[in-house]
């Protein structure tokens, strides 16, 4: 059975010119009497389509990522699903108990204590008082706020606030969960907790709709993806492909944008990862050499002394390293057309994980990037040693 069905859904919004007071409304109403119009069809001057003819279905237990630039209509889809607002046209079918994590800590009242807010927040999210009673202890434990639970939340730090809000949300256990960008707040530790919770939910057959600008998270968490562009579905399919489509469109947009300017783009064509023998792979064992090759093209910025930068990140956001040609004492004199820059990592001592490469071409002062590509390539390290963190230092235990 499908958890969610969208059939030809459109949503129209008004921009500006709100009639907030009666003084404006009365003349407008009188005007409306004389030239009637059909509410659903066509656009008035100050209206626009936030969503246009959206069609998709999600099966139970599937995770769908929605990506797109700001204003593409991502949040509007969530608001329609959460029944906060209503579509102008089309049908939406939802099967199952739905819960929205649109903003952590929605409805917290600053004057109430943590304890009181847990009940308030839980009730707002649709839990019964009895259910909250049952989950109360584990909510408090998860938030690590035992000491402050009877303190008014206005005395909380923003981190504590977020932790409490998320704890409540994590305990709702709905059939369908909507997540909007909440994972971008909070520290690393908190993000990891969120991610683990989402993974658990997916395993437990919860349907998830996930909106994020963190494309790699979308790719990892979701099986399906929608790339929204100006209120329309530009791609709907596997999440990895949706991410690629989105990246391509952002890239093309940047390119066309720059063609109107004076200079032609300098950009990274692609980044490839090779082993010591020059074979293109991206899975390595501990201690191997890794060659990262940046294929680039320069535009008319011929007087620029380009600086190339490479950084490596663990999936949870931990930065492993970041090097650039300038800091390493390499001065690159004018390059014409295209070329390759290679960074060879020797004897890579990292713990097992999948790491992401960020690559950039910068100006001489490293203040402005000509091109910056986050997560352009992946490197997976296989290491028999278990440990926390990213680096595997040559080490052994001694007992005396």
């Amino acid at each position: 059975m499908n958890a969610i069905e969208f059939e030809n859904v459109s949503k129209k919004y008004k921009i500006g010119l709100k009639k907030d007071s009666l003084r404006d409304a009365i003349p407008a109403a009188l005007k409306g009497l004389f030239n009637r119009r059909r509410e659903e069809e066509g656009l008035q001057m100050n209206e626009f389509w936030a969503l246009k003819d959206i069609n998709f279905t999600i099966a139970k237990g599937e995770a769908l990522g929605i990506i797109g630039s700001n204003g593409a209509g991502k949040s509007t889809i969530l608001k329609l699903l959460a029944k906060i607002t209503k579509q102008t046209k089309g049908n939406i079918n939802i099967n199952g108990k739905l819960s929205a994590l649109i903003e952590v800590g929605t409805g917290f009242h600053p004057d109430l204590t943590g304890r009181e807010n847990i009940y308030l927040n839980g009730a707002i999210m649709g839990l019964k008082k009895k259910e909250i009673d049952k989950k109360f202890d584990s909510i408090v434990e998860f938030s690590e706020l035992e000491k402050f639970i009877d303190t008014q939340v206005k005395r909380y730090s923003s981190g504590m606030y977020v932790r409490l809000g998320f704890s409540v949300a994590a305990h709702i256990k709905p059939d369908i969960l909507l997540v909007d960008e909440v994972l971008s707040v909070g520290d690393m530790n908190f993000q990891r907790k969120c991610l683990r919770m989402i993974e658990d939910l997916v395993k437990n057959n919860t349907t998830i709709i996930f909106i994020s600008h963190n494309l790699d998270m979308v790719r990892k968490v979701c099986s399906k993806g929608i790339f929204l562009n100006k209120g329309e579905i530009s791609f709907y399919g596997k999440s990895g492909e949706a991410v690629e489509n989105y990246k391509k469109s952002v890239y093309e947009l940047n390119n066309t944008h720059d063609q109107t300017g004076e200079t032609k783009q300098t950009y990274i064509k692609e980044v490839k990862v090779f082993d010591a023998n020059g074979k293109e792979i991206n899975v390595f064992s501990k201690g191997e050499n890794i060659k990262i090759r940046i294929y680039f093209k320069t535009g008319n910025d011929i007087n620029e002394k380009f600086v190339f930068g490479v950084s490596l990140w663990a999936f949870d956001g931990t930065k492993c390293f970041g090097y650039n040609t300038k800091n390493d004492g390499l001065i690159i004199e004018q390059i014409k057309n295209e070329g390759i820059v290679e960074l060879e990592l020797k004897n890579v001592n990292l713990l097992s994980d999948t790491y992401l490469l960020n690559v950039g071409i910068w100006n001489e002062l490293v203040t402005y990037p000509y091109d910056l590509r986050n997560g352009i390539a992946e490197i997976t390290i296989k290491n028999s040693r278990k440990g926390v963190g990213v680096v595997d230092l040559d080490s052994e235990w001694h007992i005396y």
Partner: protein
């Protein structure tokens, strides 16, 4: 309508938790705390007794003026504070309305419950006054819960209408205190109903609050049954307003998040 009621029942815990929030927040960080619920009606009785009874010599049908006026002030404050806080109940919870779905009528209903709580607290003083003025209990007092119910239906209808209207036009919020003030003088609170000329009485009694307040006085102070005609009239007007208000509210709630 039926699904709306089912929805509301499902969210009844939210209703009471929100009401508890309103009550707690109102008296947090105040020195007097919950005593404010008593002080507000009490100070009005003192002012009214001095100005209207002692200076202006307003008659009170042989009943001591303080209890005569308190019997009306108490339910009136319940009504006026419900209206004045209820009108902005949707707008002041904007962060909830734009982020989470729940039946929106929970918000005005919750503010009403919070005001009902204050009303019950302030009734303690009334019981004290009844003992002081030696008002004996009568069989007619069984009418009191029913009259309260009619008052609640009327107030809810009015609050549903005005709180939804306030989402579209913030003017409503500004009009309300003036309207309530005027309304008080059109209701037999500081003066007895007998002061209203007979020929205007039919129009006067179209105001359900007049019928309601007069009924309280009849059954508590005068040892009389309520005036059945006027109370039924008040009930019918209240019910019609409630249905109108509820329908309008449910119809407009769909666009609250877009407009607010």
């Amino acid at each position: 309508m039926l699904t709306a009621i089912k929805d509301l029942i499902q969210y009844r815990d939210l209703l009471f938790i929100l009401a508890a929030r309103d009550i707690k927040v109102r008296y947090k960080q105040t020195f007097m705390g919950i005593a404010w619920a008593l002080l507000q009606p009490l100070s009005l009785v003192i002012i009214f007794t001095i100005v209207f009874s002692k200076l202006a010599r307003v008659p009170s049908e042989g009943i001591p003026y303080p209890i005569f006026s308190y019997c009306a002030i108490l339910p009136w404050i319940f009504f006026s504070s419900s209206v004045n806080t209820g009108v902005s109940s949707i707008v002041s919870n904007m962060n909830l309305v734009t982020k989470i779905y729940f039946p929106r009528e929970v918000l005005p209903f919750a503010t009403m419950i919070a005001c009902l709580f204050d009303f019950l607290i302030a009734s303690i003083i009334f019981i004290g006054m009844m003992i002081f003025y030696k008002i004996s209990l009568t069989i007619y007092m069984f009418w009191v819960p029913l009259i309260i119910l009619i008052q609640i239906i009327f107030t809810l209808g009015f609050v549903l209408l005005s709180s939804a209207g306030n989402v579209f036009f913030r003017d409503v919020k500004h009009v309300m205190p003036i309207l309530v003030q005027l309304w008080m003088y059109l209701t037999p609170i500081i003066y007895p109903l007998s002061l209203v000329p007979e020929k205007y009485k039919v129009f006067y009694m179209l105001n359900p609050m007049a019928g309601i307040i007069e009924s309280y006085r009849n059954v508590i102070l005068k040892d009389l049954p309520p005036d059945y005609f006027y109370l039924s009239l008040a009930f019918i007007v209240s019910l019609v307003l409630f249905i109108l208000g509820y329908t309008y509210f449910k119809k407009s709630e769909k666009v609250f998040a877009d407009i607010i």
